[in-house]
């Protein structure tokens, strides 16, 4: 872990929202914590009024490379991640070609290392080409340099119950997890938005909650039966929260994720027919939003995953039915979670750290991420100004995607600094430089 990344002394930052303390970061690790620290030659950062948190870990990011470099690249996506307070992201497998071989996951992994903004951990596809027919070489991806532990056909549900069972069983061989995109395909053929009062009025084909909930119910029972580990991507309905709560009470090894947009936005926004609000799973009702917040607060939902999904503008500047599904999220996640969970009194900053970092790192089996802010730990640390207020302006973001549903909203909280393995990728709220060893990676 040790690297020659310099010495930084953060003075008087509130650790996880608690008492102010100093953090001395030296050569990639947190060298010391306490009060009144000093270090010769250290660059001093005034942490007064700032909250120090572990670097955020996204379990669900679409970096689009290889294949759709017009939408995002590993470089631009991970710049956005660093600015958003992330030190690790899981790159989803639905690239072109699909990340279903050791070769592709190693390519993405290497691109991430070269970029040097965050740890990029590729997610491997469960089935060849995301086609839902034949298992991809999960073992080869697990054994590759990318050390894949999370497998997902995200975007498409592994709907064949036998295939899902086999995948859950097989990943036990290397402590993997199957991250399911829960969407019963027959119940959602042609679906455009949440099925309910709003879809009835708008005449858009409905996407019933039961299409998500029935798959989750099946999968938690399969996970129980084969004693494996299931992760449920982007839970979006109150019913899903109930099923997962039930499963956890029975000791089933299931984790679940919620996106920032599902914590804040509802299907009422679709009345505008503006495809910036088109997403999979769809925006649901206010009752669902409240249930998701409660589920995140009580631990039923383990993590916040952005499902950051950048799209070129022409895929959103069109008719609703033609538009692509997805929203950007890396640069707004912290603010939306602060707004929906902390400012509502549901969360402390320590809770925030759990759902955005520690639990996420545990699901992905990232040993150096999501660690406590203690001496000897890897220096993946962020500083947040919780009092800041800013208005979301997608054209000023680092991601290439301009499809932020939060455009124009005033949100709280701003990432002031991001330390990735001891190196400040973000300083004074702006991109600094990538991890210094990045350039030499893969050069041979």
């Amino acid at each position: 872990m040790a690297g020659n990344t310099g010495t930084y002394l953060i003075r008087g930052a509130s650790i996880l929202g608690g008492e102010p303390a100093d953090l001395l970061i030296r050569d990639g690790v947190i060298a010391e914590t306490g009060t009144g620290l000093s270090a010769e030659g250290a660059i001093v950062i005034d942490g007064a009024g700032l909250v120090a948190l572990p670097g955020m870990v996204d379990v669900h990011t679409h970096l689009r490379e290889p294949g759709r470099e017009d939408a995002e690249t590993v470089e631009t996506g991970t710049r956005a991640a660093a600015l958003g307070g992330y030190t690790a992201v899981h790159a989803m497998a639905n690239s072109t070609p699909v990340a279903d071989t050791a070769g592709v996951v190693e390519q993405v992994y290497t691109l991430g290392q070269k970029a040097g903004w965050v740890d990029v951990r590729p997610v491997g596809a469960v089935t060849v080409g995301l086609a839902g027919e034949q298992l991809a070489e999960l073992g080869a991806m697990a054994d590759s340099r990318a050390r894949v532990r999370m497998f997902s056909d995200d975007g498409i549900c592994v709907h064949d119950p036998v295939l899902m069972r086999r995948a859950l069983e097989y990943v036990k061989a290397f402590d993997g997890v199957v991250a399911q995109h829960a969407q019963e395909p027959r119940l959602t053929a042609g679906a455009q938005m949440n099925e309910g009062e709003v879809s009835a009025v708008l005449g858009l084909a409905g996407w019933p909650a039961v299409a998500e909930e029935s798959i989750i119910a099946r999968d938690v029972l399969l996970a129980q039966h084969v004693r494996s580990r299931l992760h449920v991507c982007h839970v979006s309905t109150a019913g899903s929260v109930e099923i997962i709560r039930w499963a956890k009470e029975r000791g089933i090894n299931v984790t679940a994720e919620v996106t920032p947009h599902h914590l804040l936005l509802t299907d009422d926004l679709v009345r505008s027919y503006d495809p910036v609000y088109k997403v999979n799973p769809p925006l649901r009702t206010d009752a669902d939003v409240q249930a998701l917040r409660a589920g995140l607060a009580d631990g039923t939902i383990d993590v916040v995953g952005t499902d950051h999904a950048p799209h070129p503008s022409e895929h959103k500047e069109c008719e609703w039915a033609r538009a692509a599904m997805g929203m950007t999220g890396l640069e707004t996640a912290l603010s939306v979670v602060q707004h929906t969970m902390i400012e509502t009194g549901l969360f402390t900053w320590a809770d925030f750290a759990r759902v955005t970092s520690a639990a996420a790192a545990k699901i992905g089996r990232l040993e150096d991420q999501g660690r406590p802010l203690e001496a000897g730990e890897p220096a993946n640390v962020i500083l947040v100004d919780p009092a800041a207020r800013w208005t979301v302006e997608p054209s000023r973001m680092a991601t290439m995607g301009r499809n932020s549903p939060f455009k124009g909203m005033e949100l709280p909280g701003k990432v002031v600094a991001t330390f990735f393995k001891g190196h400040p990728t973000v300083l004074d709220g702006a991109l600094n430089t990538p991890y210094p060893h990045a350039a030499s990676v893969g050069a041979a």
Partner: protein, 341 residues
């Protein structure tokens, strides 16, 4: 009212204004010269992404009777079939100086996109979008009902609403933009609406609509009804398990000869039978019902031109917040004050 996108957000005052103006426009159709100079020099584009000969020629006739220049743009065989986006199509039409765009689109909300974006600055009239709305159809239906209702009351149509009128709308509500637009407009005009349909062809969430819902056609008739509007049902729905067979559909939900006789037997001599067309004779409506004196099918078509003239006239000829202009004004108006085009 810069655009006419839906009846859901159409106020009572604007609805009455359109219907009253349509009455005045209808009078033009009775003249020897069926033409007004009201929209001389204005350009109306019929932008049709979906085949609909009936609606297109109705709008074309309406625009021509108002002396507008009409451009018909059909997606088939056009730049759209070469992959041109709605945005580029709209900007092209804008550059050509379209004052109004009458858009028919298979995608719900496409007219809203045109109206909400800066792609084009013309007035947008929704001529049917996906399974969302078809406001001019609902207006022509209301126009037809209002004339009937006023005649029964022995009064004139002008300024009248539909208070107390019992209207049944029967058939494939789930996929029907006509049903949606009618539900909202009839509510606004004060009618009592009952939707009659198999449960599979009603949207989830219909219980929040301002109407009653019934699964039983005969009960609905027995309880008394002043207008029955039959919706077109597509035979293909059978293959998606919305109903078991076209014959069963016809027996349970169609307006067949038995139900036509029931109207007579129950003494409902003034109940009208409506259909937006095109009809599936023998499926949702029997030939005897379609051809009976109760049928308003052809009157609806005729009234469609008047209602569309009214919509085009009100959107294109100045401040629509003012009371409806009279045809006399339309004759003399030279329209020096163009809207911001």
């Amino acid at each position: 009212m810069k655009h006419l996108l839906s009846t859901e957000d159409l106020s009572l005052a604007n609805a009455i204004r359109i219907l009253d103006t349509a009455e005045e426009m209808a009078a033009v159709g009775d003249r020897e010269v069926k033409k007004l100079p009201a929209l001389r020099g204005r350009t109306v584009v019929n932008l049709f992404f979906e085949d609909s000969t009936r609606t297109r020629i109705s709008f074309e006739a309406a625009a021509k009777r108002l002396s507008a220049d009409v451009i018909n743009f059909a997606a088939k065989g056009s730049s759209v079939s070469k992959g041109e986006s709605l945005k580029d199509t709209a900007q092209t039409l804008s550059a050509m100086g379209a004052d109004a765009v009458v858009i028919r689109h298979w995608a719900s909300g496409a007219p809203h996109r045109l109206a909400a974006t800066d792609w084009i600055d013309a007035a947008v009239i929704n001529a049917g979008d996906g399974t969302h709305e078809h406001p001019t159809q609902a207006l022509l239906d209301a126009f037809t009902m209002r004339r009937h209702w006023a005649r029964l009351a022995g009064t004139g149509s002008e300024g009248a609403d539909l208070k107390g009128m019992r209207v049944a709308i029967a058939g494939d509500v789930l996929h029907s933009r006509v049903a949606r637009s009618n539900v909202w407009l009839l509510r606004t005009l004060g009618a009592d609406v009952t939707l009659v349909a198999p449960p599979t062809l009603l949207p989830i969430g219909v219980e929040k609509w301002p109407c009653k819902v019934s699964y039983n056609m005969d009960e609905t008739i027995e309880q008394g009804v002043d207008a029955v509007m039959m919706l077109r049902v597509q035979g293909e729905r059978m293959n998606a398990s919305f109903f078991p067979s076209t014959r069963e559909y016809s027996r349970r939900w169609g307006f067949d000869d038995n139900r036509l006789r029931a109207l007579d037997a129950l003494g409902m001599k003034d109940t009208i039978i409506m259909h937006p067309g095109p009809m599936n004779r023998g499926l949702e409506i029997s030939a005897a019902a379609a051809d009976s004196p109760r049928s308003t099918v052809l009157a609806q078509v005729r009234n469609g031109v008047s209602v569309r003239m009214a919509a085009l006239y009100l959107l294109l000829s100045g401040d629509t917040r003012e009371p409806a202009a009279t045809p006399a004004l339309a004759y003399t108006g030279t329209h020096s004050t163009k809207e911001s085009n």
